[in-house]
């Protein structure tokens, strides 16, 4: 089953024409897909189109609205007073946008996810005081609160040291195999990412230059 289907997607920013050109791709349920490509190849633009953050594209995107998202970390400001619990719970917002308070089932879901990711015991701690790796763990928990099936991550290991990055990949791998969560990830850290991903999408200048299994990609599709 395809969780995401993209047909003939093109997108231009006002300042940069043809950021994406006639992109076709599918993301199958249960896969760990890694989008690779150089800076400016359109990786982040592509996932923003999938998430509905970029308006005014042409072509068709078929995707569930319930996607858990982990943005690039630079969006979150330092020193923000918020506990882990508050951050994770905020992930459930898309489940019932209209209600004033969090519902019981939202709190239950947040608790489950925090326990799963081993951060329940430190839930009263301040997000800003955590290490980079722990912060990513919390943001993954928040993303999981928004979805049952798929999370999209934009460079989740950026700025983390290699051992911590490995832990994040292992966590994602566990979520894929044990919790049946589909993972779609943009990464710069190709080598490490490919040792966990089973599917690869390569973008170059806004076009898909490879789509297939990691095995095939390593065999011949890979360039540079």
């Amino acid at each position: 089953m395809d969780l995401i289907q993209i047909k003939d997607l093109s997108f231009s920013y006002p300042a940069k024409k043809d950021t994406l050109k006639h992109v076709n791709l599918k993301v199958q349920k249960g896969t760990f897909t890694c989008i690779v490509g150089e800076n400016g190849s359109g990786k982040s633009t592509l996932i923003k189109c999938i998430l509905g953050l970029n308006k005014g594209y042409t072509g068709k995107i078929k995707a569930d609205r319930r996607i858990g998202y982990l943005p690039q970390k630079s969006h979150i400001q330092t020193n923000f007073p918020a506990t882990i619990e508050e951050v994770v719970l905020s992930g459930t917002i898309s489940n019932n946008v209209r209600s004033i308070f969090y519902k019981k089932e939202d709190k239950e879901k947040a608790k489950q996810v925090m326990e799963r990711l081993g951060i329940y015991d430190i839930r009263k701690k301040c997000f800003a005081d955590l290490s980079g790796g722990q912060q990513q763990r919390v943001l993954i928990a928040r993303a999981l609160c928004a979805t049952k099936d798929i999370i999209i991550l934009d460079e989740p290991t950026n700025g983390l040291d290699p051992t911590i990055a490995k832990q994040i990949y292992e966590l994602l791998d566990k979520l894929k195999t044990e919790d049946k969560i589909t993972i779609l990830m943009v990464s710069h850290d190709i080598e490490r990412a490919l040792s966990y991903a089973d599917t690869v999408i390569e973008l170059s200048n806004g076009e898909v230059t490879f789509e297939g299994t990691t095995k095939d990609y390593k065999k011949g599709g890979a360039k540079k």
Partner: protein
């Protein structure tokens, strides 16, 4: 002290001042948390100067209740400021500085041409909570209730939008809409609060309680609650001291806020060392 307080409370104008002051302090503090965290601290300053410009012009044209003219105009200014900050080449802090000093200059120029620096103008500049008319009081109460109610209704969404706008948008929230709501509510509170605090000081009661609370508290909810309490306590101590020593109420409230800020900073140092 108790004698003084009961003497204070026997005056009708003080009762009015207390009611309005508590409500405005509460609302200013609630909005302040979002504004400080969104890095829009200066918007309060900018809007109050715009409010001053509009009030002087309205008074010069002989408007009997300039507040009713100021409310829509300052609201529009708030939306314009946000729009400028969002999409133009001028960064929002520079935009605010431009607009705020221009509005202040126009206000001062209009004042010089017409009435000169009389008590009315002085009251706009530095506030006179004790000279609020009945209709000012009613307006302040209505606006405060609207602001507090909307803050509670949108509390969850405001947190998500303030913490991480990208995630909020991906969750289907119209992030810009909530930022606009905050700006409009701020405009409302600034106009009604200007009577109490004065143009020059109103923005401080928006920013101070949030900054003070963030010294110690590390959860969003606690910061919100603490800001509300800090703000109301500062107001009450401020108005009491201003009554006893006959000092400008607005100035006294800001000074109490400053003292609390320093106190919280010291407590923070002690806790974390």
């Amino acid at each position: 002290m108790i004698g003084t307080i009961s003497e204070m409370l026997s005056h009708a104008f003080i009762q009015r001042a207390l009611l309005v002051g508590i409500l405005i302090s509460l609302c200013a503090a609630l909005l302040g948390v979002s504004l400080v965290l969104k890095r829009y601290s200066m918007i309060g300053d900018g809007l109050s100067h715009v409010g001053f410009g509009i009030l002087t012009v309205a008074t010069a044209f002989g408007a009997t209740s300039p507040l009713y003219i100021a409310i829509p105009c300052v609201t529009i200014a708030a939306i314009v400021l946000l729009k400028i900050g969002n999409n133009s080449k001028i960064k929002s802090d520079s935009a605010i500085a431009l607009i705020s000093s221009s509005a202040l200059a126009i206000g001062v120029a209009v004042t010089s041409l017409t009435t000169g620096m009389n008590t009315d103008v002085c009251n706009f500049m530095f506030g006179s909570i004790l000279a609020m008319s009945k209709s000012d009081v009613v307006l302040s109460i209505i606006v405060s209730i609207i602001v507090a109610a909307l803050f509670i209704i949108y509390y969850r969404k405001l947190f998500v939008v303030t913490f991480d706008e990208e995630f909020a948008k991906a969750s289907g929230l119209k992030a810009k809409r909530y930022t606009s709501i905050i700006a409009v509510l701020t405009a409302l509170i600034i106009v009604v609060g200007m009577r109490m605090m004065g143009v020059m000081l109103i923005s401080s009661i928006i920013i101070f309680p949030a900054l003070t609370s963030m010294r110690i508290f590390k959860s969003f909810k606690k910061v919100v609650i603490s800001s509300a309490i800090v703000s109301i306590v500062s107001f009450l101590i401020g108005i009491y001291l201003s009554y006893i020593y006959n000092i400008s109420t607005g100035a006294m409230i800001v000074i109490v806020n400053l003292v609390l800020f320093i106190l919280f900073s010291i407590i923070d140092k002690i806790i974390h060392d």
